[in-house]
């Protein structure tokens, strides 16, 4: 019998705990050509800003060993178009939707949360804290515990009580537990980690940066060990706060590793670029991994690597 893969996101029951990560599933339509979006645990939208946004010039992507550098720069249609076009489409297909929001000021974040609170069908809000803070010389909110906390407090204060707020954390910090702690104290219902790591590539032929934006976010299997470490540290500090674990998940085994580190859900990101049906494949492979270790509930392996036997774990030979 296949393992029970269900998860809970606030008040929403998810059929499984494999989600599509923000910025890697387009508006959902792109993936629907290859997989049934209703069978993805939840679709996390591209980060939505208040207004349409062109993003950065090309070249925006560079391939690195087991990694992808991107400086897309949050290109998107803006909140109005998202609410009119993309969200209704996803809901009509039976998908559960987590809306990632991006702003350049705390007020902007709060405004986006207010807009989403007037909308039906938002399973959760994921706050992209890696946006540059216009009031702090473009320094991302996620790098400073106090500023990250201020954004989360503003979003939590503006969002409807029954919509959980997840803070998406950047690994580019000395102490990710300090940022997580500030977000939890500010009212975050959950944490999502990790976002990309800032990286750079230089083209030896042109002798110039490979990306028009010079730096880019590094994602893919190259960063998975960083994700595992971050999830582990945050889980150790906050064992009761749900974590959406992401960062270089390519296979079911990778997903299992993040669950063992303490993630309660998994988001597949860059692998979707490599394999458009990655979400359903990772889910299937994770079911096989769990069957192989004789577990009948995915929830039972969450945080197992910490050595504390969770309640209700049924050991099998």
């Amino acid at each position: 019998m296949p393992a029970d893969m269900r998860a809970r996101l606030g008040l929403t029951d998810l059929p499984n705990l494999v989600l599509s990560a923000s910025g890697c599933a387009g508006a959902g339509r792109e993936l629907a050509q290859f997989i049934d979006v209703a069978r993805v645990g939840a679709v996390i939208s591209k980060s939505i800003m208040a207004e349409p946004h062109t993003g950065n010039p090309a070249p925006r992507l560079a391939e690195t060993p087991s990694g992808l550098l991107n400086s897309v720069g949050l290109q998107g249609p803006g909140m109005d178009a998202f609410l009119q076009r993309d969200l209704p489409w996803l809901l009509s297909r039976g998908a559960r939707v987590v809306v990632s929001i991006a702003g350049q000021t705390i007020r902007e974040f709060a405004g986006l949360a207010t807009r989403l609170s007037d909308t039906a069908g938002v399973s959760a809000i994921e706050v992209n804290l890696s946006c540059p803070n216009a009031e702090d010389a473009g320094q991302p909110f996620a790098l400073d515990p106090q500023r990250a906390g201020s954004v989360i407090a503003a979003v939590r204060g503006s969002a409807r009580y029954d919509i959980p707020v997840f803070a998406k954390l950047s690994p580019d910090v000395t102490d990710i537990v300090a940022v997580a702690s500030a977000c939890v104290a500010a009212g975050a219902d959950g944490l999502s980690l990790i976002n990309t790591l800032l990286g750079m590539a230089i083209d030896p032929v042109t002798m110039r940066p490979a990306l028009a934006g010079k730096y880019g976010g590094l994602s893919g299997p190259a960063i998975r060990p960083v994700a595992v470490r971050c999830v582990w540290q945050v889980r150790a500090a906050f064992p009761d706060v749900p974590i959406i674990g992401s960062g270089g998940v390519r296979t079911g085994r990778d997903a299992l590793e993040l669950l063992l580190a303490g993630a309660s859900m998994i988001a597949v990101g860059t692998e979707i670029i490599h394999d458009p049906s990655a979400c359903s494949r990772v889910l299937r492979e994770l079911e096989e991994e769990l069957a192989a270790i004789g577990t009948d509930r995915a929830a039972d392996v969450i945080g197992q690597a910490h050595g504390r036997t969770p309640r209700g774990l049924a050991w099998r030979a």
């Binding site: 792109e30 050509q33 290859f34 950065n56 010039p57």
Partner: protein
């Protein structure tokens, strides 16, 4: 709708400076229309290369239930890996993807311009054009003789075929655009189809604009996903509503009306693009009209009347 399949390598052969790979992929072959492309995951199951490689389809045949052929140059680790494959190897293949070449309803005089292995998708297009009663003239180019793809086929099937090479080793010396005006005049060209690097397409669009000839240009922009999720392959393109948007060449292209692509602004974010820094839907310009929109008649703008520089 594209499909994701495991295609089996049927043949892999050298064609001058390039490689031609034929895959058994019935589900892709039956849906394919000229101008569309496929993507292939390279490097095997444990690959460190995360971006898929995109290839225009050269030929589709009904044998083995349906095969597709691509032509590529082994110039990076991904394409070198592809060039090392053997018959019966299988490949994670997605396709057909992208917007195909539109075909004129009435018989027309069509000029097909291709540079390097970029000419690969033109031959399937030519067959489709001839079925509809159109005539096809070819203009092929490349750095040198072995980098001109398909000249023999062009000579055999086209009403005319001209070649230009940078080093003069085959046909005229110089760029394809040097021969363009003469062919346009002699062949009384109605429509141009072009597959070439962006700087050549820009030149083709400029020349065709002077003669009021519509150009369907297939852009060769690096892609990572081919499905529209990664937002890597973007270009500034003006819509028929006069508004410039940053669009993805994999889903909105790869075939574009050349007069709508802002060739001079490729690789930049034009200030008047929808959502550019400072752009505002209800800002100081009011009424959703970005500044360049003033004086532009909404609706279809005839080719040649658009400013390429925006």
């Amino acid at each position: 709708m594209p499909v994701q399949i495991r295609g089996t390598v049927l043949t892999l052969r050298r064609v001058d400076a390039y490689h031609a790979l034929t895959l058994v992929a019935p589900a892709i072959a039956t849906k394919f229309r000229p101008g569309q492309f496929i993507t292939i995951a390279v490097g095997g199951p444990e690959t460190s290369m995360l971006g898929r490689r995109a290839f225009a389809v050269h030929d589709v045949r009904p044998d083995h239930g349906g095969t597709v052929e691509i032509v590529f140059e082994a110039r990076g680790p991904g394409t070198r890996w592809l060039a090392s494959l053997r018959a019966r190897d299988t490949l994670d293949t997605v396709g057909p993807l992208g917007r195909p070449f539109p075909i004129p309803r009435d018989p027309s005089s069509c000029l097909l311009i291709g540079v390097g292995y970029g000419s690969a998708p033109l031959f399937g297009l030519a067959a489709r054009l001839r079925e509809r009663g159109s005539s096809t003239d070819y203009l092929l180019g490349g750095d040198s003789a072995e980098r001109v793809f398909g000249a023999l086929t062009a000579r055999r099937n086209g009403r005319s075929a001209a070649v230009a090479t940078t080093d003069g080793s085959f046909g005229a010396r110089g760029a394809v655009t040097g021969l363009m005006e003469q062919i346009i005049r002699e062949a009384r060209t109605d429509v141009i189809y072009a597959c070439a690097p962006v700087p050549v397409l820009r030149e083709v669009a400029a020349i065709a604009g002077r003669y009021d000839i519509p150009v369907q240009a297939s852009v060769d922009v690096p892609m990572a996903c081919g499905t529209g999720v990664c937002m890597g392959c973007v270009l500034p393109v003006t819509g028929t509503d006069g508004i410039t948007r940053i669009v993805r060449s994999c889903v909105d292209g790869p075939v574009f009306r050349a007069d709508l692509v802002r060739w001079d602004d490729v690789g930049t974010i034009p200030f008047d693009a929808l959502g550019a820094p400072g752009w505002s839907a209800r800002g100081e310009w009011g009424g959703g009209q970005p500044p360049h929109d003033r004086g532009v008649i909404r609706g279809v703008v005839p080719p040649g009347q658009q400013s390429y520089a925006g």
